[in-house]
Amino acid sequence: MILSGLIHLFLFPGLIFAIPAGWFFMWGEHKAVARMQRRIGPPLLQPFYDFVKLIGKRTPHRHGIEADLLRLYPTVSVVSLLGAMALLPVSPLGYGFSGDVVLLFALLEMPSICFILAGFTSGSLYGEIGAIREAVLGVANNLVFLLAIVTLAVTRGTFRLNDLAQPSWNPGHWIGVLGIFLCIPAKLRLNPFSTSSAEQEIYSGPLTEYGGAALAMWKLAHGLEWVALTGLVSTLILPAQGLWWLRPLLVFALSFVQVMVLSTVAAATARFTLQRSIRFYWQWAAVLAVLAVSSALYMRFH
Protein backbone atom coordinates (compact mmCIF):
# COMPACT_ATOMS: atom_id res chain seq x y z
CA MET A 1 0.00 0.00 0.00
CA ILE A 2 2.74 2.43 1.05
CA LEU A 3 4.96 1.27 -1.80
CA SER A 4 2.17 1.75 -4.31
CA GLY A 5 1.52 5.21 -2.86
CA LEU A 6 5.19 6.15 -3.22
CA ILE A 7 5.20 4.89 -6.80
CA HIS A 8 2.17 7.05 -7.54
CA LEU A 9 3.78 10.08 -5.93
CA PHE A 10 7.28 9.80 -7.35
CA LEU A 11 7.16 7.60 -10.44
CA PHE A 12 3.84 7.53 -12.24
CA PRO A 13 1.78 9.69 -12.55
CA GLY A 14 3.79 11.78 -10.07
CA LEU A 15 7.22 13.41 -10.16
CA ILE A 16 9.14 11.46 -12.82
CA PHE A 17 6.27 11.40 -15.30
CA ALA A 18 4.53 14.68 -14.54
CA ILE A 19 7.49 17.06 -14.89
CA PRO A 20 8.55 16.00 -18.43
CA ALA A 21 4.87 15.79 -19.37
CA GLY A 22 4.41 19.35 -18.09
CA TRP A 23 7.31 20.57 -20.24
CA PHE A 24 5.92 18.68 -23.22
CA PHE A 25 2.47 20.25 -22.77
CA MET A 26 4.00 23.72 -22.43
CA TRP A 27 5.85 23.11 -25.68
CA GLY A 28 2.54 21.99 -27.23
CA GLU A 29 0.88 25.17 -26.03
CA HIS A 30 3.55 27.41 -27.61
CA LYS A 31 3.74 25.31 -30.76
CA ALA A 32 -0.04 25.42 -31.30
CA VAL A 33 -0.07 29.20 -30.88
CA ALA A 34 2.90 29.49 -33.28
CA ARG A 35 1.21 27.32 -35.91
CA MET A 36 -1.96 29.41 -35.62
CA GLN A 37 0.16 32.48 -36.38
CA ARG A 38 1.90 30.67 -39.28
CA ARG A 39 5.19 30.53 -37.40
CA ILE A 40 7.40 27.50 -36.87
CA GLY A 41 7.56 27.88 -33.11
CA PRO A 42 9.97 26.72 -30.42
CA PRO A 43 12.01 23.49 -30.51
CA LEU A 44 10.81 20.51 -28.48
CA LEU A 45 13.25 21.02 -25.59
CA GLN A 46 12.58 24.76 -25.20
CA PRO A 47 10.69 24.58 -21.84
CA PHE A 48 13.49 22.36 -20.50
CA TYR A 49 16.19 24.82 -21.62
CA ASP A 50 14.22 27.70 -20.09
CA PHE A 51 13.96 25.80 -16.79
CA VAL A 52 17.68 24.95 -16.62
CA LYS A 53 18.66 28.49 -17.55
CA LEU A 54 16.41 30.03 -14.88
CA ILE A 55 17.75 27.62 -12.26
CA GLY A 56 21.28 28.74 -13.19
CA LYS A 57 20.60 32.48 -12.83
CA ARG A 58 22.25 34.27 -9.91
CA THR A 59 19.51 36.24 -8.19
CA PRO A 60 20.27 38.99 -5.65
CA HIS A 61 19.87 37.74 -2.10
CA ARG A 62 16.85 39.11 -0.25
CA HIS A 63 16.28 39.16 3.47
CA GLY A 64 13.26 39.04 5.72
CA ILE A 65 9.99 37.16 5.94
CA GLU A 66 8.81 38.37 2.52
CA ALA A 67 11.80 36.77 0.81
CA ASP A 68 11.09 33.42 2.50
CA LEU A 69 7.41 33.64 1.61
CA LEU A 70 8.17 34.51 -2.01
CA ARG A 71 10.37 31.40 -2.22
CA LEU A 72 7.76 29.29 -0.41
CA TYR A 73 4.76 30.00 -2.70
CA PRO A 74 6.06 28.40 -5.93
CA THR A 75 7.38 25.41 -3.96
CA VAL A 76 3.98 24.87 -2.31
CA SER A 77 2.35 25.12 -5.74
CA VAL A 78 4.62 22.49 -7.27
CA VAL A 79 4.28 20.11 -4.29
CA SER A 80 0.50 20.36 -4.13
CA LEU A 81 0.23 19.79 -7.87
CA LEU A 82 2.44 16.70 -7.59
CA GLY A 83 0.08 15.51 -4.84
CA ALA A 84 -2.86 16.12 -7.15
CA MET A 85 -1.12 14.11 -9.88
CA ALA A 86 -0.59 11.21 -7.47
CA LEU A 87 -4.33 11.21 -6.71
CA LEU A 88 -5.39 10.95 -10.36
CA PRO A 89 -6.58 7.41 -11.13
CA VAL A 90 -4.56 7.06 -14.32
CA SER A 91 -3.56 3.41 -14.15
CA PRO A 92 -6.28 0.75 -13.73
CA LEU A 93 -3.97 -1.39 -11.54
CA GLY A 94 -3.37 -0.78 -7.83
CA TYR A 95 -4.72 2.50 -6.63
CA GLY A 96 -2.13 4.34 -4.56
CA PHE A 97 -4.04 7.00 -2.72
CA SER A 98 -7.77 6.50 -2.72
CA GLY A 99 -8.56 10.15 -2.36
CA ASP A 100 -11.77 11.90 -3.23
CA VAL A 101 -12.49 14.64 -5.65
CA VAL A 102 -12.80 17.27 -2.89
CA LEU A 103 -9.17 16.73 -1.85
CA LEU A 104 -8.16 16.90 -5.50
CA PHE A 105 -10.03 20.19 -5.85
CA ALA A 106 -8.21 21.61 -2.80
CA LEU A 107 -4.81 20.58 -4.17
CA LEU A 108 -5.59 21.99 -7.61
CA GLU A 109 -6.64 25.28 -6.04
CA MET A 110 -3.38 25.76 -4.08
CA PRO A 111 -1.35 27.23 -7.00
CA SER A 112 -4.03 29.85 -7.60
CA ILE A 113 -4.04 30.84 -3.92
CA CYS A 114 -0.23 30.97 -3.88
CA PHE A 115 -0.30 33.08 -7.05
CA ILE A 116 -2.61 35.61 -5.34
CA LEU A 117 -0.50 35.66 -2.16
CA ALA A 118 2.69 36.07 -4.20
CA GLY A 119 1.20 39.10 -5.92
CA PHE A 120 0.37 40.78 -2.62
CA THR A 121 3.64 39.79 -0.91
CA SER A 122 5.84 41.06 -3.73
CA GLY A 123 4.69 44.63 -3.05
CA SER A 124 4.74 45.44 -6.75
CA LEU A 125 1.80 47.44 -8.08
CA TYR A 126 1.53 45.13 -11.09
CA GLY A 127 1.62 42.14 -8.77
CA GLU A 128 -1.21 43.51 -6.66
CA ILE A 129 -3.40 44.28 -9.68
CA GLY A 130 -2.71 40.79 -11.04
CA ALA A 131 -3.50 39.21 -7.68
CA ILE A 132 -6.83 41.05 -7.41
CA ARG A 133 -7.76 39.95 -10.92
CA GLU A 134 -6.76 36.35 -10.19
CA ALA A 135 -8.82 36.36 -6.98
CA VAL A 136 -11.93 37.69 -8.73
CA LEU A 137 -11.52 35.24 -11.60
CA GLY A 138 -11.06 32.42 -9.08
CA VAL A 139 -14.36 33.28 -7.41
CA ALA A 140 -16.01 33.30 -10.82
CA ASN A 141 -14.72 30.00 -12.20
CA ASN A 142 -14.70 28.02 -8.96
CA LEU A 143 -18.47 28.34 -8.68
CA VAL A 144 -18.80 26.46 -11.96
CA PHE A 145 -15.97 24.06 -11.07
CA LEU A 146 -17.56 23.13 -7.74
CA LEU A 147 -21.04 22.76 -9.25
CA ALA A 148 -19.55 20.51 -11.95
CA ILE A 149 -17.93 18.34 -9.25
CA VAL A 150 -21.21 18.20 -7.31
CA THR A 151 -23.05 17.21 -10.50
CA LEU A 152 -20.55 14.37 -11.07
CA ALA A 153 -20.81 13.23 -7.47
CA VAL A 154 -24.62 13.30 -7.35
CA THR A 155 -25.07 11.39 -10.61
CA ARG A 156 -22.65 8.65 -9.47
CA GLY A 157 -23.55 8.79 -5.79
CA THR A 158 -19.94 9.09 -4.65
CA PHE A 159 -17.08 11.54 -4.23
CA ARG A 160 -14.41 8.84 -4.63
CA LEU A 161 -12.19 9.48 -7.65
CA ASN A 162 -11.70 5.80 -8.42
CA ASP A 163 -15.43 5.28 -8.84
CA LEU A 164 -15.94 8.49 -10.77
CA ALA A 165 -13.13 7.80 -13.23
CA GLN A 166 -15.20 5.85 -15.72
CA PRO A 167 -17.52 6.96 -18.46
CA SER A 168 -21.22 6.61 -17.89
CA TRP A 169 -24.33 6.90 -20.04
CA ASN A 170 -25.80 9.35 -17.58
CA PRO A 171 -25.90 12.84 -19.18
CA GLY A 172 -25.11 14.37 -15.79
CA HIS A 173 -21.61 12.86 -15.96
CA TRP A 174 -20.88 14.47 -19.33
CA ILE A 175 -22.29 17.85 -18.26
CA GLY A 176 -20.03 17.70 -15.21
CA VAL A 177 -16.98 16.90 -17.34
CA LEU A 178 -17.88 19.74 -19.70
CA GLY A 179 -18.15 22.11 -16.73
CA ILE A 180 -14.66 21.15 -15.54
CA PHE A 181 -13.31 21.56 -19.09
CA LEU A 182 -14.83 25.06 -19.34
CA CYS A 183 -12.96 26.08 -16.17
CA ILE A 184 -9.52 24.96 -17.40
CA PRO A 185 -8.69 28.15 -19.42
CA ALA A 186 -9.40 30.36 -16.40
CA LYS A 187 -7.41 28.13 -14.06
CA LEU A 188 -4.46 28.08 -16.49
CA ARG A 189 -4.76 31.83 -17.23
CA LEU A 190 -5.14 31.11 -20.96
CA ASN A 191 -6.08 33.76 -23.41
CA PRO A 192 -9.75 34.64 -23.14
CA PHE A 193 -9.30 34.64 -19.35
CA SER A 194 -5.69 35.82 -19.08
CA THR A 195 -6.38 39.14 -17.31
CA SER A 196 -4.33 38.17 -14.24
CA SER A 197 -1.08 37.70 -16.19
CA ALA A 198 -1.79 40.10 -19.06
CA GLU A 199 1.73 40.92 -20.21
CA GLN A 200 0.69 43.92 -22.35
CA GLU A 201 -1.00 45.62 -19.38
CA ILE A 202 0.63 44.52 -16.12
CA TYR A 203 3.86 42.85 -17.31
CA SER A 204 3.78 39.43 -15.65
CA GLY A 205 1.26 40.24 -12.92
CA PRO A 206 2.20 38.60 -9.61
CA LEU A 207 5.39 37.15 -11.14
CA THR A 208 6.85 40.56 -12.08
CA GLU A 209 9.26 40.64 -9.12
CA TYR A 210 10.32 36.99 -9.51
CA GLY A 211 13.54 35.87 -11.13
CA GLY A 212 15.86 32.90 -11.33
CA ALA A 213 15.02 29.62 -9.60
CA ALA A 214 11.73 30.80 -8.04
CA LEU A 215 10.49 31.86 -11.47
CA ALA A 216 11.56 28.45 -12.83
CA MET A 217 9.36 26.83 -10.16
CA TRP A 218 6.40 28.96 -11.24
CA LYS A 219 6.92 27.90 -14.88
CA LEU A 220 7.10 24.28 -13.72
CA ALA A 221 3.89 24.75 -11.72
CA HIS A 222 2.20 26.03 -14.88
CA GLY A 223 3.26 22.89 -16.76
CA LEU A 224 2.06 20.66 -13.91
CA GLU A 225 -1.28 22.50 -13.86
CA TRP A 226 -1.66 21.62 -17.53
CA VAL A 227 -0.99 17.94 -16.81
CA ALA A 228 -3.22 17.75 -13.73
CA LEU A 229 -6.26 19.58 -15.13
CA THR A 230 -6.30 17.97 -18.58
CA GLY A 231 -5.48 14.65 -16.88
CA LEU A 232 -8.52 15.02 -14.62
CA VAL A 233 -10.84 15.48 -17.61
CA SER A 234 -9.19 12.55 -19.43
CA THR A 235 -9.50 10.16 -16.50
CA LEU A 236 -13.18 11.02 -16.11
CA ILE A 237 -13.87 10.24 -19.78
CA LEU A 238 -11.77 7.15 -20.54
CA PRO A 239 -12.86 3.63 -19.56
CA ALA A 240 -11.00 2.06 -16.61
CA GLN A 241 -11.03 -1.51 -17.98
CA GLY A 242 -8.69 -2.95 -20.55
CA LEU A 243 -4.96 -3.47 -20.85
CA TRP A 244 -2.86 -1.95 -18.06
CA TRP A 245 -0.68 0.10 -20.37
CA LEU A 246 -3.47 1.28 -22.64
CA ARG A 247 -5.22 3.61 -20.19
CA PRO A 248 -2.16 5.72 -19.23
CA LEU A 249 -1.33 6.02 -22.91
CA LEU A 250 -4.88 7.08 -23.81
CA VAL A 251 -5.00 9.53 -20.89
CA PHE A 252 -1.77 11.12 -22.11
CA ALA A 253 -2.99 11.30 -25.72
CA LEU A 254 -6.37 12.75 -24.78
CA SER A 255 -4.69 15.30 -22.48
CA PHE A 256 -2.46 16.39 -25.33
CA VAL A 257 -5.51 16.77 -27.60
CA GLN A 258 -7.05 19.04 -24.95
CA VAL A 259 -3.81 21.07 -24.80
CA MET A 260 -3.98 21.56 -28.56
CA VAL A 261 -7.68 22.55 -28.50
CA LEU A 262 -7.28 24.99 -25.61
CA SER A 263 -4.12 26.57 -27.07
CA THR A 264 -5.79 26.98 -30.45
CA VAL A 265 -8.75 28.68 -28.77
CA ALA A 266 -6.29 30.86 -26.83
CA ALA A 267 -4.52 31.87 -30.04
CA ALA A 268 -7.81 32.63 -31.79
CA THR A 269 -9.38 34.78 -29.07
CA ALA A 270 -8.61 38.15 -27.59
CA ARG A 271 -8.41 38.81 -23.87
CA PHE A 272 -11.73 39.34 -22.09
CA THR A 273 -12.01 42.14 -19.60
CA LEU A 274 -12.52 41.02 -16.02
CA GLN A 275 -16.23 41.88 -16.17
CA ARG A 276 -16.79 39.80 -19.29
CA SER A 277 -14.88 36.87 -17.82
CA ILE A 278 -17.11 36.94 -14.74
CA ARG A 279 -20.21 37.29 -16.89
CA PHE A 280 -19.16 34.24 -18.92
CA TYR A 281 -18.84 32.09 -15.81
CA TRP A 282 -21.65 33.45 -13.67
CA GLN A 283 -24.22 34.12 -16.36
CA TRP A 284 -23.82 31.30 -18.87
CA ALA A 285 -21.76 28.53 -17.34
CA ALA A 286 -23.23 28.87 -13.86
CA VAL A 287 -26.81 28.77 -15.14
CA LEU A 288 -26.01 25.54 -16.99
CA ALA A 289 -24.23 24.16 -13.95
CA VAL A 290 -27.15 24.93 -11.61
CA LEU A 291 -29.54 23.29 -14.07
CA ALA A 292 -27.25 20.26 -14.22
CA VAL A 293 -27.03 19.95 -10.44
CA SER A 294 -30.75 20.35 -9.92
CA SER A 295 -31.61 17.85 -12.65
CA ALA A 296 -29.07 15.40 -11.27
CA LEU A 297 -30.54 15.77 -7.77
CA TYR A 298 -34.06 15.36 -9.18
CA MET A 299 -33.12 12.21 -11.12
CA ARG A 300 -31.41 10.76 -8.07
CA PHE A 301 -34.12 11.27 -5.50
CA HIS A 302 -37.27 10.74 -7.60
Binding site: H30, A34, Q37, R38, R39, I40, G41, P42, P43, L45, Q46, F48, Y49, D50, F51, V52, K53, G56, K57, R58, T59, P60, E199, Y203, S204, L207, T208, E209, Y210, G211, G212, L215
Partner: protein, 156 residues
Protein backbone atom coordinates in the same frame (compact mmCIF):
# COMPACT_ATOMS: atom_id res chain seq x y z
CA UNK B 1 29.76 18.37 -12.80
CA UNK B 2 31.20 18.89 -16.25
CA UNK B 3 27.99 17.54 -17.81
CA UNK B 4 25.87 19.95 -15.75
CA UNK B 5 28.13 22.86 -16.75
CA UNK B 6 27.74 21.95 -20.39
CA UNK B 7 23.96 21.62 -20.02
CA UNK B 8 23.75 25.04 -18.35
CA UNK B 9 25.94 26.55 -21.08
CA UNK B 10 23.70 25.13 -23.79
CA UNK B 11 20.52 26.21 -22.00
CA UNK B 12 21.76 29.78 -21.66
CA UNK B 13 22.60 29.86 -25.34
CA UNK B 14 19.24 28.37 -26.32
CA UNK B 15 16.97 30.53 -24.20
CA UNK B 16 17.90 34.23 -24.35
CA UNK B 17 15.00 36.23 -22.92
CA UNK B 18 15.24 39.89 -23.86
CA UNK B 19 14.10 43.10 -22.24
CA UNK B 20 13.54 46.06 -24.53
CA UNK B 21 14.69 49.41 -23.12
CA UNK B 22 14.00 52.63 -25.03
CA UNK B 23 16.36 55.45 -24.01
CA UNK B 24 14.90 58.24 -26.12
CA UNK B 25 14.84 56.44 -29.45
CA UNK B 26 12.91 57.86 -32.43
CA UNK B 27 10.96 54.51 -32.51
CA UNK B 28 12.66 53.35 -35.72
CA UNK B 29 14.74 50.70 -33.97
CA UNK B 30 11.82 49.81 -31.67
CA UNK B 31 9.65 48.99 -34.68
CA UNK B 32 12.42 46.84 -36.16
CA UNK B 33 12.97 45.07 -32.83
CA UNK B 34 9.28 44.27 -32.46
CA UNK B 35 9.23 43.09 -36.09
CA UNK B 36 11.59 40.27 -35.01
CA UNK B 37 8.72 38.80 -32.98
CA UNK B 38 6.36 38.78 -35.95
CA UNK B 39 5.55 35.60 -37.93
CA UNK B 40 7.96 36.69 -40.70
CA UNK B 41 11.05 36.43 -38.50
CA UNK B 42 9.73 34.22 -35.65
CA UNK B 43 12.51 34.50 -33.07
CA UNK B 44 10.80 31.89 -30.86
CA UNK B 45 12.57 29.29 -33.05
CA UNK B 46 15.87 30.11 -31.33
CA UNK B 47 14.26 30.59 -27.95
CA UNK B 48 14.17 34.40 -27.89
CA UNK B 49 11.30 35.66 -25.78
CA UNK B 50 10.40 39.30 -25.08
CA UNK B 51 9.83 39.69 -21.34
CA UNK B 52 7.95 42.47 -19.60
CA UNK B 53 10.08 42.48 -16.46
CA UNK B 54 13.87 42.99 -16.43
CA UNK B 55 14.13 40.45 -13.58
CA UNK B 56 13.08 37.69 -16.01
CA UNK B 57 15.44 38.76 -18.77
CA UNK B 58 18.98 37.73 -19.78
CA UNK B 59 19.72 40.26 -22.48
CA UNK B 60 19.05 43.98 -22.36
CA UNK B 61 18.25 45.41 -25.82
CA UNK B 62 18.84 49.16 -25.69
CA UNK B 63 17.63 51.56 -28.38
CA UNK B 64 18.10 55.33 -28.45
CA UNK B 65 20.87 57.82 -27.69
CA UNK B 66 20.61 57.88 -23.85
CA UNK B 67 18.81 61.11 -22.94
CA UNK B 68 19.38 62.73 -19.54
CA UNK B 69 15.91 61.71 -18.37
CA UNK B 70 16.48 58.01 -19.03
CA UNK B 71 19.98 57.76 -17.52
CA UNK B 72 18.85 56.70 -14.04
CA UNK B 73 16.34 54.25 -15.54
CA UNK B 74 19.11 52.59 -17.57
CA UNK B 75 21.25 52.05 -14.47
CA UNK B 76 18.28 50.74 -12.45
CA UNK B 77 17.09 48.36 -15.15
CA UNK B 78 20.64 47.11 -15.80
CA UNK B 79 21.00 46.34 -12.09
CA UNK B 80 17.66 44.51 -12.05
CA UNK B 81 18.69 42.01 -14.75
CA UNK B 82 20.02 38.92 -12.95
CA UNK B 83 23.54 37.63 -13.67
CA UNK B 84 24.74 36.37 -16.12
CA UNK B 85 23.56 39.13 -18.42
CA UNK B 86 24.50 40.81 -21.69
CA UNK B 87 23.69 44.11 -23.37
CA UNK B 88 22.87 44.61 -27.05
CA UNK B 89 22.96 48.17 -28.38
CA UNK B 90 20.43 48.29 -31.25
CA UNK B 91 21.11 50.91 -33.92
CA UNK B 92 23.61 53.71 -34.32
CA UNK B 93 22.21 55.91 -31.50
CA UNK B 94 23.46 53.97 -28.45
CA UNK B 95 26.79 53.38 -30.19
CA UNK B 96 27.61 56.95 -31.22
CA UNK B 97 24.59 59.20 -30.43
CA UNK B 98 24.13 59.38 -34.23
CA UNK B 99 22.66 62.72 -35.36
CA UNK B 100 22.00 63.73 -31.75
CA UNK B 101 25.72 63.88 -30.89
CA UNK B 102 26.67 67.15 -29.19
CA UNK B 103 23.16 67.90 -27.94
CA UNK B 104 23.08 69.23 -24.37
CA UNK B 105 20.37 66.74 -23.29
CA UNK B 106 22.19 63.62 -24.58
CA UNK B 107 24.35 61.69 -22.13
CA UNK B 108 25.42 59.00 -24.60
CA UNK B 109 27.03 56.92 -25.90
CA UNK B 110 25.69 53.99 -23.92
CA UNK B 111 29.09 52.43 -23.19
CA UNK B 112 29.91 55.38 -20.90
CA UNK B 113 27.29 54.10 -18.43
CA UNK B 114 26.92 50.32 -18.75
CA UNK B 115 29.13 47.68 -20.43
CA UNK B 116 27.92 46.90 -23.96
CA UNK B 117 28.59 43.44 -25.43
CA UNK B 118 27.21 43.63 -28.98
CA UNK B 119 26.66 46.64 -31.24
CA UNK B 120 24.11 46.24 -34.03
CA UNK B 121 24.79 49.13 -36.44
CA UNK B 122 22.17 50.68 -38.71
CA UNK B 123 19.64 53.47 -38.65
CA UNK B 124 17.51 51.44 -38.13
CA UNK B 125 19.19 47.99 -38.34
CA UNK B 126 17.48 45.21 -40.27
CA UNK B 127 15.61 42.70 -38.07
CA UNK B 128 17.94 39.96 -39.34
CA UNK B 129 20.89 41.94 -37.99
CA UNK B 130 19.17 42.39 -34.62
CA UNK B 131 18.46 38.64 -34.38
CA UNK B 132 22.10 37.90 -35.26
CA UNK B 133 23.21 40.37 -32.57
CA UNK B 134 20.98 38.77 -29.92
CA UNK B 135 22.23 35.29 -30.88
CA UNK B 136 25.82 36.51 -30.54
CA UNK B 137 25.01 38.09 -27.18
CA UNK B 138 23.49 34.77 -26.04
CA UNK B 139 26.77 33.04 -26.89
CA UNK B 140 28.77 35.69 -24.99
CA UNK B 141 26.41 35.36 -22.02
CA UNK B 142 26.74 31.57 -21.98
CA UNK B 143 30.54 31.78 -22.06
CA UNK B 144 30.53 34.41 -19.33
CA UNK B 145 28.30 32.33 -17.05
CA UNK B 146 30.96 29.65 -16.62
CA UNK B 147 33.44 30.38 -13.82
CA UNK B 148 36.96 31.08 -15.10
CA UNK B 149 38.55 27.86 -13.79
CA UNK B 150 35.92 25.61 -15.37
CA UNK B 151 36.24 27.51 -18.64
CA UNK B 152 40.02 27.04 -18.61
CA UNK B 153 39.58 23.32 -18.08
CA UNK B 154 37.22 23.10 -21.01
CA UNK B 155 39.57 24.92 -23.32
CA UNK B 156 42.60 22.82 -22.33
Amino acid sequence: MKFLQRLLHKSRRKSPWIFHLNTGSCNGCDIELVTCLSPRFDVEQIGIHLEGSPRHADILCVTGPVTRNTLEAIKTVYAQVCEPKAVVACGSCPASCNVFAGSPVIEGPLSKHIPVDVYVPGCPPHPDAIIAGIAQAAQILADRGIPKTAKGEEQS
